[in-house]
Symmetry: C2
Subunit: 229 residues, 2 copies
């Protein structure tokens, strides 16, 4: 009996490890996608932008694989309480990472509309890479926190989201001013507004994952902690 139970536990732990490995893999691809999309944007490299859009299918494929694995894990192991919660959390985190990948893909999609033929280089682009770095660092660090099940690291990531929001507000104002002063480029700069918004949303999603990591590690909601302390 004891051996049978041990076997089941071990199998479940292996399933969880596999789930976590798939999530890390998705996260790495999403981080790379942000990096490549911004590189394509800065350089006007439409070939690289196309590559980012194509590679997004890999992220979607891993999410689909992960979902199948989860259905199998639940059906075969019938996990209880905490274990089940961990499995459901994996499903939710994967969905959030898939969305981060979508935002990167959306940035890549805008590259040809921003670098239109015959147009001068849009100076306003130069303010975006620093914001992108902030957002992609949040994604990187939340994946580390997830791997290490590190609640404190997760909490620190949530704090950084405010800085990213301020950055976004400032860029919004800068781009609006730029549009007013350069009416010829309004269409391209409007696309840059969406790029900035996508980066801000990437930060929101990294924060969502951080909150899930915090909850999984401590059983407490981070929002409650910060509201009271």
């Amino acid at each position: 009996m004891a051996t049978g139970h041990e076997h089941t536990v071990k199998a479940f732990d292996q399933d969880i490890s596999q789930l976590r490995a798939l999530i890390s893999q998705m996260g790495g691809l999403a981080e790379q996608a942000i990096h490549d999309a911004m590189k394509a944007l800065s350089r006007g490299d439409t070939a690289l932008a196309k590559e980012v859009r194509k590679k997004d299918k890999q992220i979607d494929a891993i999410e689909a694989e992960l979902e199948k694995l989860i259905v199998r894990v639940i059906a075969l192991r019938a996990p209880m309480a905490d274990d089940l919660r961990e499995v459901i959390a994996a499903l939710k985190i994967a969905a959030v990472i898939e969305r981060i990948g979508d935002y990167a893909k959306n940035i890549a999609k805008r590259v040809p509309m921003i670098h239109t033929e015959g147009e001068d280089r849009i100076e306003a682009i130069s303010i975006l890479p620093a914001m992108a770095q902030l957002a992609s660092d949040m994604v990187h660090d939340v994946l580390d926190a997830f791997s290490a099940r590190d609640a404190e690291a997760a909490a620190r990531i949530c704090e950084r989201d405010n800085a990213l929001d301020d950055f976004y507000d400032s860029i919004f104002r800068t781009l609006v001013t730029f549009m007013v002063e350069n009416p010829r480029t309004v269409s391209q700069v409007a696309h840059l507004l969406f790029v900035a918004k996508n980066l801000e949303r990437i930060g929101d999603h990294a924060t969502n994952v951080a909150e899930m990591v915090y909850f999984a590690a401590t059983g407490r909601y981070l929002a409650d902690e910060t509201a009271t302390g």
Copy 2:
């Protein structure tokens, strides 16, 4: 034995009915939120906009309730194959509806930034309600298709997403032209660009739900059908 099995089946059916009722309730609230957000936008009614933002918490609360119910259903009933897939689909559909609510909330959030004091009425607002109607009809109809498990109705909703995308492209161009001609209102109209984008995303999400409804009803992926047919 037979009675015991019947009991379990009945209890599971009741759980599923409850899950579906919660999803319909969320959907109704999301549809109302789109409607109210657009009314607030058209009239510059910041009090109504605030109401929409407050009410979004109800949608979030139902999603949280639904998640708890799902964990309980899986733990207690240990559903197999098809049943488990239906439960997981409910979790995913609820997450999408929660996002639709978020987009409506985001539109409401922009109302005070679009109707700034001392500014003239931004004429460009008048082109958005028709697009909003299209998007909110898609949400309404996909919820009907979900309730009726109607695969054909779900397929028709996906077709309408192209019309909404074209509408968005046309509005994007109109708003850009408006900005060029009215540099004084660039900031407000930039917020309108995001409103239009939110409506376009609502349509994307209604389409996602329609695809899930189609798959649940037929066991086939809609994308495969339309690709070959």
